[in-house]
Symmetry: C2
Subunit: 315 residues, 2 copies
């Protein structure tokens, strides 16, 4: 992905919180608006589409690249989460209009007097848990209590707490006017929207449409871990969602029937369902019959890779 | 408390969130710094001392007056909490230097589609619980998980969640540079400090010393509910704290002995102890022996009034 077009803009890389805030405040005092695209790195076309969305809305773009330990439980894949910082910068330089700042902190948590602490230690991925039992380490968490409960919240109990908290931190550090999130992480997007409303952040939260590979697989940094065979099986997710959507639009409004269709198709392809739910687009509460806008949400395992995807149905 | 000195400054009263933020941003763009003093109204000399403290640090002062339903449980005294808005404004006008803005919102919570909602409804104190079981009402809470557990957190389980959440909201609306809290609410002060650190608010949190009546009773809006007799009994709190402090400074470092002294004195005066603890000033963990800076914290009932008080011991 290396390239050297003359019009490529090299982003300023900022690793320090205070420097980041200083930059934002300087820009705001010049009347500039700032868009934030929070990421965990290993950027793909899905991320790029978020940046393009932000470009429509603000003068300046900050992309944060931070693999947030606070949203992984000890048994999850923090240690194997893919990363490629240099490649990410190349990809960002290729985006039309570029990005102004990459905010890339080593660590955003205060570990107090605990033995985990220190930036160098924290950089060793996998060794980190920012949840301390005692002492002066990080202990403040933002919880969106209803929306965080279902779907991904069931199988990943600390996930949304970690997401809402790190996004709060990023909001307070970057102080953007707009933040763009992918609708692929539908529940996350709704949680951040609700959090922004409930905590009175002066930030517009934008949900950006899912970007898919040519074969229909929703783009995800985790796709890189799929074997060729698993990847082929994983297409059952998008296929089953499309079929269910088609059926719903043709008049099948019974959620149970639609869910069964989806589950059967993914199971037959060799996937292991974590959840397949048809929920209200705002409350994320399961519906029995589709009478208003809903979203079909799926999480399924293919080998050791857990994938999520969803499709909105606006009938 | 009416007065009409020529040099009194009338504060601007702002009730709308967006207007409040607009004011702050306009001031900041002029290079002014803003101090916030969050209150629930019924202002007394303790509050005034917080404003004086803020005056030392910032160009402009915002006092928020908002009786936060989110920090009261249904069984607590939201409905009888005293208020006197006109008197509060008079008191603020008498403060040297005055205050610039009184932020006095009717309601800071979004009740979604629930039946509780609506500003007018919310104004009826006592009818309000902002914790909804379902629907689109407020559901985001900030929790400082370790510090919120002990002392007042034990007998008031939703209290600090409500405090941390409303303070987050006020911080996001007012966007101050400095916020001043009273050390009378010691646990609250430490929780806000920790929250600001953990969530990367760019706000300096100041703890201001307890202000006492001439007879030693810590100033509190709730003191007005004490009968003459109860008030006399309540002096046992400050008296016992002072004695325990004196004993500690003379070499009594056993927390158990000191606690017993305090408990006995308050019990004998007719108070009912909620808690009497000797804790580390930062972690708020109970200590058995005083070896480093601690604080004696007390909550006790006199009749139907629950009072809190504390004293730092720096040995």
């Amino acid at each position: 992905m290396k390239s050297s077009h003359k019009n490529e803009k090299e982003p300023e890389i900022i690793t320090n919180k205070n420097q980041m805030r200083k930059w934002s405040r300087a820009m705001r005092s010049q009347g500039k608006t700032i868009g934030l695209v929070p990421t965990m790195g290993y950027l793909h076309e899905g991320h790029i589409s978020l940046i393009k969305e932000a470009h429509k809305l603000t003068n300046l773009i900050v992309v944060s690249i931070y693999l947030n330990p606070g949203q992984f439980s000890p048994t999850e894949d923090l240690s194997t989460y893919p990363s490629d910082f240099d490649g990410d910068i190349q990809r960002l330089m290729a985006v039309p209009g570029g990005v102004d700042v990459v905010f890339h902190p080593y660590n955003l948590y205060d570990y107090g007097n605990s033995s985990v602490g220190g930036d160098s230690e924290v950089e060793k991925k996998g060794a980190v848990s920012c949840v301390e039992e005692r002492g002066l380490g990080h202990e403040t968490w933002v919880r969106v209590e209803r929306l965080e409960k279902g779907m991904c919240g069931k199988s990943r109990p600390v996930f949304f707490r970690g997401v809402a908290t790190v996004v709060t931190k990023l909001f307070n550090i970057v102080e953007p006017d707009v933040a763009v999130f992918g609708k692929k992480d539908y529940q996350q997007w709704r949680i951040i929207q609700r959090m922004v409303r409930d905590l009175d952040f002066s930030i517009e939260v934008i949900g950006s449409d899912i970007v898919r590979e040519n074969d229909g697989l929703a783009m995800s940094s985790r796709n890189v871990h799929l074997s060729t065979e698993e990847r082929k099986k994983a297409l059952s997710i998008n296929r089953s969602l499309s079929r269910a959507k088609f059926a719903a639009e043709k008049g099948q409004v019974n959620s149970g029937e639609l869910r069964n269709m989806i589950i059967q198709e993914i199971n037959e392809a060799g996937g292991r369902i974590d959840y397949a739910e048809i929920v209200d687009q705002e409350t994320l509460e399961a519906v029995e019959e589709i009478k208003s806008p809903v979203v079909f949400c799926i999480a399924a395992w293919f080998g050791k890779v857990r994938l999520i995807d969803n499709m909105e149905i606006n009938i």
